[in-house]
């Protein structure tokens, strides 16, 4: 029964890929908190539509709702690739409101933020299982990429057969190591960038067109 269901799912996924060429693909921007997902989403949206997607912050869990920017047209080599960008909350397995108190927040605000953050993570996982056609996985290249959340999420994305592009963000920081990310996930291509400074965005757009066009 499980085998038949899996086969049916695979066929319907293949069929939807074949027959929905005209629809913009929904590309989820995933990664742990504070990797720079919203900074990247804003950079892409501003470069190609002139608008931003959402507010950026150094306080973890600034993005607590998945936000979609529709019909982002990226032009590469005279061809247009249209995608919907879905900026998602950073994924984690734990949220402790007391960590927000360290960012000069009152207890009530910290508790509210943690509740919204947990809802956001659950929402992000739901989008990943049901509603995205591809994934841009953003990692902070100045931190250890070999975390359980990253390992699990990459595994979940691979199990869904979704195309995934790994971006090593924050190369403007001195402690940045792109090679550490390449070593952690050798089965995927890793592209370095600084979403904040706009470094290497041309290569990022080339790869988005190649992977999701």
């Amino acid at each position: 029964m499980g085998l038949l269901t899996n086969l049916k799912d695979s066929i319907s996924r293949a069929a939807s890929t074949l027959f929905s060429e005209e629809d913009p693909k929904r590309i989820g921007i995933y990664g742990p908190p504070n990797a720079g997902k919203t900074t990247l989403a804003n950079r892409i949206a501003r470069d190609w539509t002139g608008d931003a997607v959402g507010p950026e912050s150094h306080v973890p869990h600034e993005t607590r709702r998945a936000r979609r920017k529709e019909n982002v047209e990226i032009e590469r080599d005279g061809k247009k690739v249209t995608i919907d960008i879905v900026d998602t909350p950073g994924v984690t397995t734990k949220v402790d409101y007391t960590e927000f108190l360290e960012h000069d927040m009152e207890k009530d605000d910290a508790v509210r933020r943690s509740r919204e953050a947990t809802e956001g993570v659950a929402e992000a996982m739901h989008w990943l299982r049901e509603d995205v056609d591809g994934v841009i996985y953003v990692l902070d290249s100045a931190t250890d990429p070999f975390t359980q959340v990253n390992t699990m999420l990459i595994g979940i994305i691979e199990s869904q057969d979704l195309p995934v592009l790994i971006l090593a963000n924050k190369i403007d920081l001195e402690e940045s190591s792109v090679q550490r990310i390449r070593n952690a996930y050798p089965q995927h291509e890793t592209i370095p960038l600084s979403a904040l400074e706009g470094d290497n965005m041309d290569e990022v757009y080339d790869k988005i067109a190649e992977y999701f066009g």
Partner: protein, 127 residues
């Protein structure tokens, strides 16, 4: 699960065999894990969860987090991704190897000290 002892006595560790997990539906597995972890136990799965079950475990964990009561979970498996080694046919048919020892505990009681492809070293504290 066996009778839960007083947490002052120590930390309870539940080692769950693959055979026991085989007979359970995904949500039953997740419920069993979270019920154990919320009681302050360390749950060790002989064969781990599938990627889809891991995704649902994160989602359900998030819905149960409550300030000053439950901060979520710490979960550790060996970092090698076995899905990358599965054949295309196996992946199409959903037959992925998920046999990897998995340790799950309350986020405020378990801290990973070291992890590599062959060793997970964790510090477990009482509540």
């Amino acid at each position: 699960m066996a009778e839960v002892k007083d947490p002052d006595d120590g930390v309870q560790i539940d080692l769950i065999s693959g055979e026991r997990m085989d007979g359970l539906a995904s949500m039953e597995k997740i419920r069993m894990i979270l019920d154990g972890v919320r009681d302050g136990n360390i749950v060790i799965l002989e064969e781990g969860l599938s990627p889809d079950e891991e995704s649902r475990l994160i989602e359900v964990t998030m819905t149960e987090i409550s300030p000053d009561e439950f901060n979520g979970i710490e979960i550790e498996t060996y970092p090698k991704s076995q899905t990358a080694d599965a054949s295309i046919l196996d992946r199409l048919m959903g037959k992925q190897s998920t046999q990897k020892l998995t340790v799950i505990g309350p986020a405020n009681q378990i801290e990973t000290l070291h992890k590599d492809e062959t060793l997970i070293s964790a510090l477990v504290s009482r509540k």
